[in-house]
């Protein structure tokens, strides 16, 4: 049930463990090749907000953003995600997709962990194997489930990982998703571990030795419950060139405290804004406020079983509903512009995103066209009843559901309203309930959404719209979409993959199994002392690019 996690508001961003990189479309940093800005101090320590890691700092056991942003800074995987969410080789010289089920990875030579040992193929193979074993109880275990040899029932070596020589290994997969698997390799679960880690993993988790752009400072770097001090790792040769002297992550108990520190210059960059300041932070901070889309897509799903929403009539009604929602006005008035109207089924921070898909007009407010389509549908079978959107009332959704309902009501002249459920679990139970015929029983639309695990369009599309997928709430099934998604995931050429996903989305825009609403934004801000602040695809700033003046 990773999807609607957004519902558990407040824990935002748990999902995307996070590679500290990657950026935002339309970010403010034109020079990502990264020369220090004039006046930038190469020894300056950047101070930022964070939270105490919930687990020891072991890549395969860290799935939340507090530990994730530290791991992304001190480790380097085969690849990282750049400012646009695209995959860039880091430790890897080449990640080659040999066939839909096989990849070959070649490492760059001479790269070192901070204890002086070289980063070899074995460091990856052993680390992943450690993460996959049941008895090691690693939180990121499921990331290895596509590799041959993986088992959920018992310890079982990942036989699909084969070392060719010290700098080459092959990955054999049990399902044909090689191309998509390659895009996952920037995630922290796939980081290598030095040999010393396997001697005493608990001690290692307390004082990790990595190979990334930063390393733990001398002495007591991790002050539990207080902060962690990282300094630049001069041995790192990858693409994430560090433009500052180090990073101090202060653990805040509340966002309000972090925001207070930003206002008085005690902290340089924060990657979230407290609710209490959401309507004022842009005027408080001026151009130092950050408010841009994150890898979170929100929508409402109308199941095939809902009366009047199947077949040709359904298509007309879905399009009419979509065009009767004034997304611009709602994101502005209800959300203070902390949402961005959707123009596809993914997110702008994902590589391959486009707002010019064929048929994306259906996501634009168009009163006349909506009425026309609705009338056409009425000719097939006249409308009766109320159009309802089910939501959990404990997640702050009521305001937007009411706004959307009103928009539909005013445009189409039909009754529309929210259908509140007490909490997320109750809502999910209602959505998942099935009758004797195996069909879902819910007769309303339901709110839905997705937060990306890794920056790939496939991750936004496959789990939600492929036949029988885990989060396909509407039981949507279109063989053409299935085929395009499968081809995209196994395509050895990323351009071809993007084309496949684009085509799949264009079909989705016609079928509208879910009505896209908007992307959630990441809000943050920074002090006058720092420059070149860009937020990555996972809503974490690219710390290595930040420069600071004295």
């Amino acid at each position: 049930m990773k999807r609607n996690k957004i519902a558990l508001a407040g824990i935002a961003l748990l999902a995307a463990g996070t590679l500290a990189l990657a950026g935002c479309a339309g970010g403010s940093n034109p020079d990502s090749s990264g020369k220090p800005a004039a006046g930038g101090d190469a020894s300056a320590i950047i101070k930022t907000n964070g939270s105490e890691p919930e687990n020891p700092l072991i890549p395969t056991n860290t799935n939340e953003v507090g530990g994730g942003k530290i791991l992304d800074s001190i480790f380097a995987g085969l690849a990282y995600y750049d400012g646009k969410g695209a995959l860039v080789n880091d430790m890897a010289e080449e990640i080659k997709v040999d066939s839909p089920t096989k990849l070959t990875v070649t490492l760059k030579k001479g790269q070192k962990f901070t204890d002086g040992t070289e980063v070899k193929a074995d460091n990856f193979i052993k680390a992943w194997d450690y993460g996959a074993q049941l008895s090691n109880k690693q939180l990121n275990q499921s990331w290895f489930s596509d590799i041959v040899g993986f088992s959920t029932d018992a310890d079982s070596p990942l036989t699909g990982l084969k070392k060719v020589d010290d700098t080459t290994f092959t990955i054999e997969l049990s399902s044909p998703v090689a191309a998509d698997f390659a895009t996952r390799l920037g995630y922290s679960a796939f980081y290598p571990l030095p040999d010393v880690a396997f001697k005493d993993m608990a001690a290692f988790g307390e004082k990790p030795i990595g190979n990334g752009p930063y390393k733990l400072a001398e002495g007591e770097a991790w002050k539990h419950g207080v902060s962690i001090d990282l300094v630049k790792n001069d041995d790192y040769q990858g693409g994430r060139k560090v433009q500052n002297g180090g990073l101090t992550i202060t653990f805040y108990s509340s966002l309000d405290a972090a925001y207070a520190d930003l206002q008085s210059g005690e902290v340089d960059v924060i990657d979230a804004i407290p609710d209490t300041a959401i309507s004022t932070f842009e005027s408080d901070l001026g151009d130092r406020a950050v408010n841009q889309p994150a890898a979170i897509f929100q929508s409402f799903t109308i199941g095939e079983q809902v009366a009047h929403f199947s077949g040709e009539e359904g298509k007309l009604r879905r399009a009419a509903i979509s065009m009767s929602i004034d997304r611009e006005a709602i994101t502005k008035t209800v959300f203070n512009n902390t949402r961005t109207p959707a123009s596809d089924f993914t997110s702008p921070v994902i590589d391959g995103w486009s707002d010019k898909l064929d048929g994306a007009d259906v996501l634009k407010y168009n009163k006349d066209e909506a009425k026309k389509l609705w009338a056409e549908a009425d000719k097939i079978s006249p409308w009766s009843g109320t159009f309802q959107i089910a939501y959990n009332s404990d997640g702050g959704h009521q305001t937007w559901v009411d706004a959307v309902s009103n928009s539909i009501k005013n445009t189409l002249g039909i009754e529309a309203a929210g259908a509140p459920y007490v909490d997320f679990a109750t809502l999910r139970a209602a959505v998942n309930a099935r009758g004797a015929d195996g069909k879902r029983t819910i007769q309303t639309a339901n709110r839905s959404g997705w937060q990306a695990d890794y920056p790939a369009q496939y991750n936004f599309l496959f789990p939600l719209y492929s036949t029988g997928a885990s989060s396909n709430d509407g039981d949507y099934s279109n063989p053409e979409v299935d085929k395009l998604l499968e081809e995209g995931a196994s395509a050895t050429d990323s351009k071809k993959a993007t084309e496949d996903f684009t085509k799949a989305q264009e079909i989705l825009l016609k079928d509208l199994p879910a009505i896209p609403l908007w992307y959630s934004n990441v809000s943050g801000g920074y002090s006058e002392k720092v420059q070149n602040v860009t937020f990555g695809w996972n809503s974490v700033p690219l710390y290595y690019e930040i420069t600071k003046t004295k």
């Binding site: 990773k2 105490e52 008895s135 499921s142 539990h224 419950g225 202060t250 405290a257 207070a260």
Partner: protein, 309 residues
């Protein structure tokens, strides 16, 4: 006297078991599955979920879980957090911080309460008295988080007199702002009590006697009046100690102080059983000890109060 103290200390034993059992039961009954929450958005396999649950004994019935916990406590081990740290360590790291904050807050509370209360009583009905009444009513009616946010915004962010948050630098000198906030939120009741008590004492025979003996005011007020007026204030501060602990939790949260309260708050969000139970139990034990200490203080303040048997 000694046997009284021993008896009071022995009472700690049932208090300890009662408190731990009760709190353990409450944590046990909290809705939601902490282990499933650990995995965030990516659902784990049921086998993995079961393995992690077993690691924390969360697959066992309530009494068995409690037994494991108590067994650990008697071996000096209060369990581990989800991040693998020992609760003992967390406690020994956070307790001194909260201790400093509490002592400073009580110091500020007492100083203010005694001075303002006494002066108010001596100038009953004058401007100072009425002014103090208004000020104390303001602080009495404002929830502590309002005082904290106002202090943080105006004194720290706007005027820059203090740092808005505390974090790692939490020595005596760093804790002034939160200690003042906490002290102010407690001082109103003590001040009103002190005023009433001083007024009461001023009318006692022995005060009149002292004056008629020709003792000067600067001897009479501190020695004869103040000492005898302190008892209600001390009693109040003992019962108020619980309020102080709650206030410390709120204050620590707002000022990002890595103390007991803040850690307890975070642990509660995560359903981290061992941390919650150990921390609250320590709170309870401190509360009982403080009340014992206060009872003993009575004897020093008023020799007529004696604890025999």
């Amino acid at each position: 006297m000694l046997s009284y103290i021993i008896r009071r200390l022995l009472q700690l034993i049932p208090v300890f078991f009662g408190a731990t059992l009760l709190i353990y039961a409450l944590v046990f009954l909290m809705p939601g599955d902490p282990i499933a929450a650990l995995f965030g958005d990516k659902p784990p396999s049921p086998q993995l979920l079961a393995a992690v649950r077993a690691q924390y004994h969360l697959d066992q019935p309530f009494l068995v879980q409690y037994y494991y916990y108590i067994l650990g406590v008697f071996q000096g081990d209060m369990g581990t957090t989800f991040s693998g740290q020992s609760v003992n360590e967390v406690l020994s790291r956070t307790l001194p911080v909260t201790g400093r904050l509490a002592i400073m807050a009580i110091g500020i509370e007492f100083t203010l309460a005694i001075i303002v209360g006494t002066v108010s009583a001596l100038r009953k009905g004058k401007i100072f008295d009425n002014g103090a009444l208004v000020v104390s009513l303001v602080f009495l009616s404002m929830p502590i988080f309002v005082v904290a946010f106002l202090g943080q915004y105006f004194l720290a962010i706007k005027l820059g007199w203090f740092r808005p948050t505390i974090g790692g630098q939490n020595d005596w000198g760093d804790l002034w702002l939160p200690a003042i906030v906490l002290g102010l939120s407690l001082f109103a009741t003590s001040m009103r009590l002190m005023r009433g008590s001083v007024l009461d004492t001023l009318n006692q025979d022995w005060v009149r006697t002292a004056y008629s003996k020709g003792l000067p005011r600067y001897r009479v007020i501190p020695v004869h009046v103040l000492r005898n007026s302190l008892i209600p204030v001390i009693t109040n501060s003992a019962t108020n100690f619980g309020v102080l602990l709650v206030g410390a939790t709120v204050t620590e949260h707002i000022f990002n102080i890595p103390g007991v309260g803040n850690t307890l708050f975070q642990a509660t969000l995560k359903h981290e059983g061992p941390t919650i139970v150990s921390f609250v139990t320590v709170f309870v034990i401190i509360y009982v000890l403080v009340n014992l200490l206060v009872d003993l203080l009575y004897g020093l303040l008023d020799p007529r109060i004696r604890y025999v048997r």
